[in-house]
Amino acid sequence: MVAVALPVLFLLTLIGAWYLLVRLYDVPPQVVPSPETVGSELVRLPEYLATQSWYTLREVWAGFAIAVVIGVALALAISASRVVDQAVSPILVGFNAIPKIAIGPMLVMWFGFGMQPKIFVVVLLCFFPIVLSTVAGLRSTPADLIELTRSLDASRVKTFLKVRVPWALPQFFTGLKLAISLAFVGAVVGEFIGGGRDGIGYVIVAAKANIQTGLAFAGIFLLALMSIASYYALVALERLLLPWSRETTS
């Protein structure tokens, strides 16, 4: 109850502040619309906005799933071998800095205007926190436990599966939570540079280009909502899977 009531209350306060600011400072509506305008847009186009949101949500989760697979694989490789780490990590860091806008032409050339290019951008944006957090987690295993596996002559694979990975899970989840947030950013960027008229990101950008600021903000609102829902789905999953982590820390 409280867990829902508090943020809603806080949100209402924020909306109130927004309302007041827009009124008091006479912010031009083409820059920031008033909350009512946004609300009326939500009411005006419920079906359209739902369809577009659903499209984005699918992109996000598909891309996120792929990013998890790739990210974990990379993290395992990096933390398993110093050579891989030293050779790959800097490249990964550099690669991650490539502006996604710059790969637009490649995207269009390879994929056209479907969902793939957007999923591709989602993956690009969100795999890195997964890699980094997982590597950090895998490396944080206490020396005690590694000594135990060594005394049992455990293979590297078993040590990973039975000790390092479980130990890394809390940090892995931090990575996932960051990644899902970035996945939404990625979906919007993908919809922006990837072309086509699907997705809530497209709605936002198109509405903004047409100075339909109210609609743009309605889209942003829905995007934020989906992002919050996805994030807390992960939080719930974490609580379910890792009770020990909360019980042994304080």
């Binding site: 005394s151 049992l152 002559d153 020990w244 982590s245 042994t248």
Partner: protein
């Protein structure tokens, strides 16, 4: 079975160098039970780690005539996996060795029973008392049925009674399986009761001060025994040896 020739071990860090062990010559035969006593910080745990192959000696040679998996090590700290319950912590070596879990569950329960932990199989490590955690780690070492057993103060967190029970159990196991054992302890009584020979380490750098043979037949128990005198003599000798080391100036880590 175990052979140490002039083994020494130095730890060098940013805060200076500590010579933990120096010139250790020791041979442990198959089936032998050797206790190691010595002051805190004299290198007992380091010695076990060297035998277990967890540390490389900085000088000398360590030879153990057993594969890694035939050596079980009980650490000074319980080192339990916090996400596994008691039973599955005990079964951890079974999983690592790729043995059939099913076949060992009964054995694990039996060990937990013996250790007085029946009914706690499903508890998580953080829900146990210190002594209970230590017993879980003992069960984990025993489930391996090792040829060589390295125990680092296995009963330090246990009360006298549990200690006695487990000592009896350990003697039984040793008699049955002829496990070659190195047993680090702070209790002279325990050492005298269990060991064929007791190695006394002098501190910093850890050297072998003397090896005391306990020539008393098994099974032994303290106090109610025809060899009481011999046991008392050994105890006294060990006490004396440990006392001697007090005179030695405690060396500091060389900066």
């Amino acid at each position: 079975m175990i052979q140490l020739d002039g083994v020494s071990r130095t730890f060098s860090g940013r805060r200076g160098t500590v010579q933990a062990l120096s010139g250790i010559d020791l041979q442990v035969d198959e089936g032998e039970f050797v206790a190691v006593v010595g002051r805190s910080g004299c290198g007992k745990s380091t010695l076990l780690r060297l035998v277990a192959g967890l540390l490389e000696p900085t000088g000398g040679k360590v030879r153990v005539n057993a594969t890694r998996r035939e050596i079980a090590m009980q650490f000074q700290r319980p080192a339990l996996l916090p996400w596994r319950n008691v039973l599955s912590n005990v079964l951890f070596p079974v999983e690592i060795f790729g043995w059939k879990r099913k076949q060992h569950v009964a054995k694990a329960r039996e060990l937990l029973d013996t250790a007085g932990l029946a009914g706690f199989e499903k508890q998580m490590p953080h829900e146990l008392s210190g002594g209970m955690q230590q017993r879980v780690s003992l069960c984990r070492a025993l489930i391996q049925r090792p040829k060589v057993m390295l125990m680092d103060e296995p009963f330090s967190a246990l009360d006298a009674l549990t200690r006695e029970e487990l000592t009896v159990e350990l003697q039984r196991i040793h008699a049955r399986e002829r496990t070659t054992t190195i047993f680090v302890t702070h209790s002279i009584d325990e050492a005298v009761l269990l060991a064929d020979r007791v190695v006394v380490l002098s501190p910093r750098p850890g050297r072998i001060a003397e090896i005391v043979e306990i020539g008393v037949p098994r099974p032994r128990s303290l106090g109610q025994n025809e060899h009481t005198e011999e046991l008392a003599r050994c105890s006294a000798r060990l006490h004396e040896l440990l006392m001697q080391n007090t005179d030695e100036t405690i060396t500091q880590p060389a900066g």
